[in-house]
């Protein structure tokens, strides 16, 4: 099960066109809400884009749901969208999805939980509290997801790319 994601990566090219509905437009209204106009011309106000596989495949598969959480459209590949729509979508996704990527672990306060972690992420330096060793999940051999005390998730996409000091700190846990 663990290496499932890696395997799946080869399937990108084999797109399923049933799920790719083109011919919709996306705009922002004066209140800052996203408005989607679908193929039949119906308007859906205040839609939300949601990444379906935010961790294993963030660049593909985005679902746009209406205000009630019902899916309106499912997009497999953002690159196939017209430039403007794509821009709005990635802008919106950028502020909606919060998954800091840890680039460096500066320090862990204690070997025993709860411990405070000082980290440098792609969104800047921060520290968080780890409540439980079990909150460090190994998604695949080198891919780690850490969930902090407030259920905020931090991703380490590849432990091999961390510097050796960070790796040494992490080695106690994995």
């Amino acid at each position: 099960m663990k290496n499932f994601h890696e395997k799946n990566d080869e399937h990108h090219e084999k797109r399923d066109d049933v799920d790719l509905k083109e011919g919709f437009s996306l705009s922002r209204d004066s209140l800052g809400r996203l408005v989607l106009c679908d193929q039949e011309g119906r308007e859906h106000i205040d839609v939300k884009p949601i990444r379906i596989f935010p961790i294993s495949d963030p660049e593909h598969w985005v679902s746009i749901c209406d205000a009630d959480g019902n899916e309106v459209i499912c997009i497999e590949d953002l690159h196939h969208l017209p430039g403007r729509v794509r821009h709005i979508l990635s802008e919106e996704l950028g502020v909606r999805e919060f998954l800091p990527i840890i680039k460096k672990i500066m320090g862990i306060s204690s070997r025993f939980e709860p411990s405070e972690w000082q980290v440098e992420t792609d969104r800047g330096e921060t520290c968080f509290i780890l409540n439980d060793e079990d909150d460090i999940h190994r998604l695949s051999f080198y891919r780690i997801l850490i969930i902090d005390a407030y259920r905020i998730r931090y991703l380490i996409p590849d432990t091999r790319r961390l510097d050796s000091a960070s790796r040494r700190l992490l080695a106690h846990y994995i």
Partner: protein, 761 residues
């Protein structure tokens, strides 16, 4: 598979003495109960001329006939005694018998022998004899039917039964030592490394034995002559010291290599053992897991195999080198001075004898200890998953008590071992010291009489010190061996289990089924209880069947038979016209999708859980399955969408959500046969509606068998099958069955009343 014993060949020969000239035994059966249902073995033999019954005399005092009776009969006949001293014979001619039939009640079978108007005789037996009894009856019927034709066929000695039994007793428990020897089989892939390790051992030990040898000339040729005022060649000292250092260095290097090599091998042996055990565990049927406790199984695969590894890497290695060392030391001692050597080795046999005695005591202690340990882990494995129930019923104290009780048993078992051990260890030390003392006394005496030099005595003392030190360690091995043997035995017990759902030799690998299922005179026995009896049902491809009936009627068993979690005891279950036992199990199950009352989610992401049956599914396939199962939208609301990790048992998802993931899982493999076992009964009515919608997608174009207590769930079924006490009572459409005013109508009424009273309440 079946525990049906073959007709013992010697016995065959013996019974012939009781037969008349042309009489040939056709079938035999050994009733193991007497008329009062006490254990007593007798024998019934069917021949081509009639029936012979051999029974112990009812008034016989020693009622311990039981199982040994047959063997006793055998022995007696061999001696040529008159066999009727404590038994009675009865014979009936075939012509006088009108009917012979076997019945069963609560696991006790009875064989009735009747003529036209009377009961001639009756035999009682337990389920263990059931197969033989039925075979005897079958043979009898054959005989009656085609009188002479089949009668000539002698009883086949190697015949196997057709009815599959659930008994699959493992081979008789081998002695512990044999379990240990079997471990070597697992080391075979690394034979080269083992040999290398052995050679390194020999080398390092030999190197370790050099220094005391060098001290001899060092003392005798240099130091002592120097002390007594003679001139000596001090150049020699340098050489001797160089030899001492070199030998130590070599011993260190070789010892290092040896430890590494042997630990490397043993680590692989135990990993191999773990994999084999776990793989075999998966091959065993569901039933095995039902009867074994989870904690016990886990500890067998993990703790026991780890213990074996530790033994192989540490104890066995030490033991091997100790044996080598002792042999080499003994050799050296004998070569230096045989007389002194013999005296020195005096306490050795005594220690060996003591070891042997202690071994027996320890073995019992250790097996008791490891059983107590397994019980304790079982308590843990029992209560921790069930913690909600424990807390809800405020039974913490009782569970703690239960644990303490088990823990006390562990303590008790260990105390007992320690009692023996604490005496034994110092005892060996005492004997060792005694050995040293003997060497001193003898050595001093010999030196005094100028038989040996001081150097020789020093060397002797150095050797003997090592010798006994190692001997002591070797005796500690005794405990380790016993402990490991017990562990190995527990591991092999799993490996030796024969799966009760065996794969045929040349299985058919099925493609996709059309989905036609046929039960033909299917019977199933769970232990001695008959759960399914003579079920006949033909299900068309694509049809949806609803199984209805009270709890314990056999609905789930029917489904377990279709999934091939068990094999039928009688009759046959056919899919697309082929007996399912002829398919490869894996290929067969690929065609089956199942949604259970509780969908079990594994640790992993939602996507991985949906793709469990088809790990290489593409993302769009996963999404499509989830959509069809009405799971897509709630999954999108989860924090990480399809990448959300589910807890150990998917705790943070609701029952309905878990269920829909289960449905998506079944949908993804696109099975030809779908089984819904109470798929909606654990959720509320509202959620059920939603799940119903998902199920309707699922049922499309597949043969479906569904069980449900809420009859409303089955409204889409093409036919409903009402089952009671293992029989099919009614089959038909909803409306037809209602008209019949039978069992189904009654069930329906109760269901309706329930719904109404709930609506009112």
């Amino acid at each position: 598979m079946s525990e049906n014993r073959e007709f013992p060949v010697e016995f065959h020969a013996q019974i012939k003495g009781l037969l008349s000239e042309s009489e040939i035994p056709l079938a035999w059966f050994a009733p193991d109960l007497d008329s009062r249902l006490h254990f007593a073995c007798s024998l019934v033999v069917l021949t081509n001329r009639g029936l012979i019954s051999v029974q112990p005399r009812p008034q016989a005092k020693h009622h311990a006939f039981s199982r040994s009776f047959v063997s006793k009969l055998l022995r007696r006949s061999k001696k040529g005694d008159t066999p009727d001293s404590d038994r009675v014979f009865k014979t009936w001619l075939l012509t006088s018998i009108v009917s012979l039939r076997a019945t069963e009640h609560k696991g006790i079978g009875t064989l009735h022998l009747l003529d036209t108007s009377h009961l001639l005789c009756q035999w009682k037996f337990t389920a263990s004899q059931k197969n033989n009894a039925h075979r005897l009856v079958e043979r009898f019927l054959d005989l009656k039917e085609s009188d002479k034709e089949k009668a000539d066929a002698t009883l086949s000695l190697t015949e196997t039964t057709t009815g599959v039994l659930l008994d699959y007793a493992p081979a008789a428990a081998p002695p512990p030592a044999r379990s240990l020897f079997r471990l070597f089989k697992f080391a075979r892939p690394w034979t080269g490394m083992v040999i290398l390790g052995f050679l390194l051992s020999v080398g390092s030990i030999a190197a370790g034995l050099v220094p005391p040898y060098i001290t001899m000339p060092l003392l005798d040729k240099v130091l002592i002559p120097y002390q007594s005022g003679k001139t000596v060649d001090f150049h020699l000292v340098g050489w001797y010291l160089f030899g001492l250092a070199g030998a130590s260095l070599l011993a260190w290097l070789l010892g290092w290599a040896r430890t590494y090599v042997l630990a490397w091998v043993s680590e692989r042996v135990s990993a191999n053992l773990r994999t084999i055990t776990y793989t075999h565990l998966h091959r065993l049927s569901i039933e095995f897991f039902g009867e074994k406790r989870t904690g016990d199984l886990i500890s067998r695969v993990s703790t026991d195999s780890d213990r074996i590894c530790y033994f192989l890497s540490v104890h066995l290695m030490e033991f091997g080198s100790d044996v080598l060392m002792i042999i080499m030391t003994a050799g050296i001692l004998l070569s230096i001075n045989p007389f002194l050597a013999l005296v020195t080795l005096c306490p050795f046999p005594l220690i060996l004898w003591l070891t042997y005695r202690v071994r027996t005591i320890l073995r019992r202690g250790f097996s008791l200890g490891s059983r107590a340990w397994a019980d304790m882990t079982s308590v843990l494995a029992d209560t921790i998953p069930g913690i909600r129930v424990v807390k809800a019923f405020a039974q913490e104290q009782r569970e703690i008590g239960r644990f303490q009780e088990c823990n006390a048993r562990v303590l008790q078992a260990n105390d007992r071992i320690n009692t023996t051990w604490s005496f034994f260890g110092p005892m060996v030390t005492l004997l060792t010291d005694a050995g040293l003392l003997v060497v001193w006394i003898f050595g001093a005496w010999q030196v005094f009489h100028h038989h040996i030099t001081v150097g020789v005595l020093t060397a002797f003392l150095a050797y003997i010190g090592r010798f006994y030190a190692r001997l002591e360690a070797m005796i500690r091995m005794v405990a380790a061996v016993q402990r490991t043997a017990a562990s190995a035995h527990r591991v092999f017990e799993i490996i030796d289990r024969v799966p009760s759902v065996p794969e045929v030799v040349n299985p058919i690998i099925p493609g996709r089924f059309r989905g036609e299922i046929e039960f033909s005179q299917v019977g199933f026995r769970y232990g001695s209880r008959k759960v399914i009896d003579n079920v006949n049902l033909k299900i068309r491809p694509g049809e949806m069947i609803g199984l209805v009936g009270p709890t314990g009627a056999g609905k789930s068993t029917l489904i377990n038979l279709v999934c091939r979690f068990y094999d039928v005891s009688e009759g046959a279950l056919m899919v697309d016209g082929i007996d399912i036992r002829r398919f490869s199990i894996e290929g067969y199950r690929h065609n089956i999708g199942i949604v259970l009352q509780e969908s079990f989610l594994f640790y992993g992401t939602i996507a991985e859980n949906i793709a469990y049956g088809k790990p290489d599914a593409t993302r769009s396939e996963i999404i499509r399955a989830a959509r069809a199962a009405c799971a897509h939208e709630f999954i999108l609301r989860l924090p990480d969408g399809y990448d959300t990790l589910t807890g150990e048992r998917g705790q943070f998802l609701s029952g309905g959500e878990r269920q829909r993931i289960g449905i998506a899982r079944a949908l993804l493999i696109d099975p030809a046969i779908l089984i819904l076992d109470e798929a909606t009964s654990s959720v509320d009515v509202e959620t059920e509606k939603e799940i119903q919608r998902a199920l309707e997608n699922l049922v499309q174009g597949r043969t479906t068998i569904a069980i449900a207590h809420r009859l409303s769930t089955l409204r889409r079924a093409d036919r409903l099958v009402v089952i009671e006490r293992g029989h099919i009572i009614e089959v038909g459409r909803h409306a037809e069955l209602l008209e019949k005013q039978g069992s189904y109508a009654r069930l329906h009424r109760v269901n309706l009343e329930m719904a109404q009273s709930m609506a009112q309440g």
